[in-house]
């Protein structure tokens, strides 16, 4: 197996924490920034050149994309875990079959999902918050994307496989390449050809197709011990079962995330109309970007915290937690200042429509109220994960994104309309920040570090 991108774990226990965190976090942050930059530019093309209704139409399709991504995550998480186990065993024959099964599963699931989605497209979109006005946009976009659903699944799934088999850089190139090509086609199809929202869909599809071709080409390289070839694609019961066993949890989480977006969309449609949904699309893009940067920082933190916890260097664990929290807070405070005091600047990128702008600004100003502390919440959640306390971590992640959010979304909009929708997100952030702080306080108070002595005895 190629060792590209892997560092010796020893440095995790000795190198200065600040240096380590920088070294591990910066690549992740850059990747995350690229992903959200793409997200923003893609949407701003639609908002600027097609109009605010197109933005709303696009926002209506988010839950379907989430749902499709849920299936992708199921195969992706299960497949890559299984694949890395087999690679660790140097059981290359089985590893290749796992890889082949990942491809087949993606094709099968992608196909079934596409058929179901196409048959019920109108019902689904109406349920997710489309109106007479936005349906044409949403439908045009969605139908094209769904025809390419298998490609979408393959491009995400294979990039993941490529990373696991030892080519993280090539995997990253494929994604960055896809982003650039997508934006280029956005420009050509939307601005030059004037194809509207269909142009955005074709741009996405085309860039994913090119990305998939590149990925397959990389994975067919016969010089790699693990590569795609005939005879590995037949679905094997054991492999499929194991993939699903691991993948079911990320799947459920994604489905819940989808449910949350549906609730937000429906709440906004009922109380604020289509433009409010479009506004949510904008606000979502902006806040997403900053959360993604924080995610990048936590990804840098995880191996450092995990290793040092395992090696019982608890002072270093605390130090990396502190540093990551501080960096995350700085980033989120910056987002707070930007959105609270210069909201026009942020919104201007997406649309010139006065109504949408105003709605987006109103929403953004409410949503970011808690954001300086949200970074801390995310860091703590990931911290628990990196030291092997998965349950605490899941709880914290769910607390912010659904546990408190769903009931709030069911109640507040009835009394406060759109403001209620925005405020639900803020309130959920606030409560989950307190929960995270309490859990961290208890973790330290219980002296979790002190009791975990080097006490061997079974």
């Amino acid at each position: 197996m190629n060792e590209e991108g892997k560092r010796s774990p020893k440095e995790l226990g000795t190198e200065k924490i600040g240096t380590l965190l920088m070294r591990y976090a910066i690549p992740a942050v850059i990747s995350m920034l690229a992903a959200s930059a793409y997200n923003i530019v893609d949407r701003s093309f639609l908002g600027q050149f097609v109009g605010p209704l197109a933005l709303a139409g696009l926002a209506v399709t988010f839950p379907i994309m989430n749902l499709s991504a849920a299936f992708g995550a199921m195969i992706g998480a299960g497949g890559s875990t299984l694949l890395s186990i087999k690679l660790g065993q140097r059981d290359y024959g089985t590893a290749e079959r796992v890889m082949g099964n990942i491809v087949s599963l993606n094709v099968v699931v992608g196909f079934v999902f596409a058929v179901l989605a196409l048959v019920f497209i109108d019902e689904i979109l109406y349920f997710f918050g489309a109106s007479e006005a936005t349906l044409p946009y949403a439908k045009t976009y969605m139908v094209i994307i769904i025809y390419g659903n298998i490609i979408t699944h393959l491009t995400h799934g294979l990039a993941n496989v490529l990373r696991v088999v030892g080519h993280p850089n090539k995997a990253m190139i494929s994604v960055l390449f896809g982003v650039c090509v997508n934006l280029l086609f956005d420009y050509i199809f939307i601005y030059i050809c004037g194809w509207g929202i269909a142009g955005a869909a074709y741009a996405t599809l085309l860039s994913q197709t090119l990305g998939t071709i590149y990925l397959i080409w990389c994975l067919c390289n016969k010089n790699d011990r693990i590569h795609l070839h005939s005879g590995i694609y037949a679905l094997k019961q054991r492999i499929v079962k194991n993939i699903l066993a691991i993948g079911i949890s990320p799947f459920c989480i994604q489905v819940c995330a989808c449910l949350v977006v549906v609730l937000i969309n429906r709440g906004l449609k009922e109380h604020g109309g289509d433009m409010a949904i479009g506004a949510y699309g904008i606000v979502n893009s902006i806040t997403f970007m900053f959360i993604m940067i924080v995610m990048g920082i936590t990804q840098g933190m995880q191996p450092i915290a995990g290793y040092n916890y395992g090696a019982q260097q608890y002072a270093r664990v605390t130090e990396v937690l502190k540093k990551a929290s501080i960096y995350a807070t700085i980033v989120m405070t910056f987002s707070f200042i930007l959105c609270e005091f210069f909201p026009h600047l942020c919104v201007l990128v997406f649309t010139n429509d006065a109504e949408t702008q105003q709605l987006a600004i109103e929403g953004m100003r409410i949503i970011v109220l808690m954001s300086p502390l949200v970074g801390f919440q995310v860091v703590v959640g990931n911290f628990f994960q990196s030291i092997g306390m998965a349950k605490k971590s899941i709880f914290l992640s769910m607390s912010r994104q659904m546990l408190f959010l769903i009931p709030l979304l069911l109640i507040l909009p009835h009394y406060y309309g759109t403001v209620g929708v925005w405020a639900s997100i803020t309130a959920s952030d606030g409560i989950s920040i307190i929960v995270a702080a309490v859990m961290l306080w208890m973790f330290y108070k219980k002296g979790a570090f002190a009791t975990a002595k080097n006490d061997i005895g079974v």
């Binding site: 990747s31 993941n160 494929s174 691991i246 990320p250 990931n382 990196s386």
Partner: protein, 209 residues
């Protein structure tokens, strides 16, 4: 003389470990079982608590993967799936240690998917030891000082755990005769008798003087 390795899969309460110990003593070779956990912990400098948690429990319901999935829909962009203290990496540490032990000397490995991990070892005998259910209950009662009802509970839970673990990490089913060279019911000959029988078998097959 060429090095050999004997791996023993066993049901809880079948006396598999005790039988392994008798064989190890007769052959004058070391035997590694749950003790492996400590060994792994010490050698890698890792906290043994973490190993106990992952001990023969498969890595499913992996919270790690869950959260990372929520975190980012752009899976390829992130370091997603290799969390630092996951059950998978613990299995990897155990694998490395089992391979190292088997390469260094002749030995017996009990449990931990040794049959699969050492599948490429040229001189490898794979044994599976089971026992009648009632005998297992009796064994667990005496061993752990629990009531028969409690023992049954322990046994059923353990059967589930071991087969899940084995079926997840290896390519064969736990206790399936096709995964082993010899499967034996220790109820028939008892611990001493089974050990003697297996010892003869091992001596003949592995050509041990």
């Amino acid at each position: 003389m060429e090095k050999y390795v004997i791996t023993i899969g066993r049901e809880l309460g079948s006396g598999g470990k005790a039988i392994g110990e008798i064989i190890a003593k007769e052959l004058n070779i070391p035997i590694y079982d749950s003790y492996l956990i400590d060994m792994a912990a010490k050698e890698s400098g890792f906290n043994p608590e973490l190993f106990k948690k992952a001990d023969e429990k498969p890595g499913k319901g992996l919270g790690a993967a869950m959260i990372r999935t929520v975190a980012s829909p752009f899976s390829a962009l992130s370091n997603y799936y290799d969390s630092s203290v996951s059950n998978e990496s613990l299995f990897q540490v155990q694998t490395d240690i089992i391979l190292k032990k088997a390469a260094a000397e002749s030995c017996i490995i009990v449990g931990r998917c040794g049959d699969y991990i050492l599948r490429n070892h040229p001189n490898h005998l794979r044994i599976f030891i089971r026992a009648d259910y009632d005998d297992r209950v009796k064994f667990v009662c005496e061993h752990d000082g629990v009531t028969p009802a409690k023992a049954r509970q322990i046994i059923d839970k353990n059967d589930n755990q071991r087969s899940e673990y084995h079926n997840f990490y290896s390519e064969t089913n736990w206790g399936d005769s096709r995964a082993y060279d010899i499967c034996v019911n220790s109820s028939l000959l008892g611990l001493e008798g089974t050990a003697e029988f297996l010892l003869n078998f091992a001596r003949k097959y592995l050509k041990i003087q």
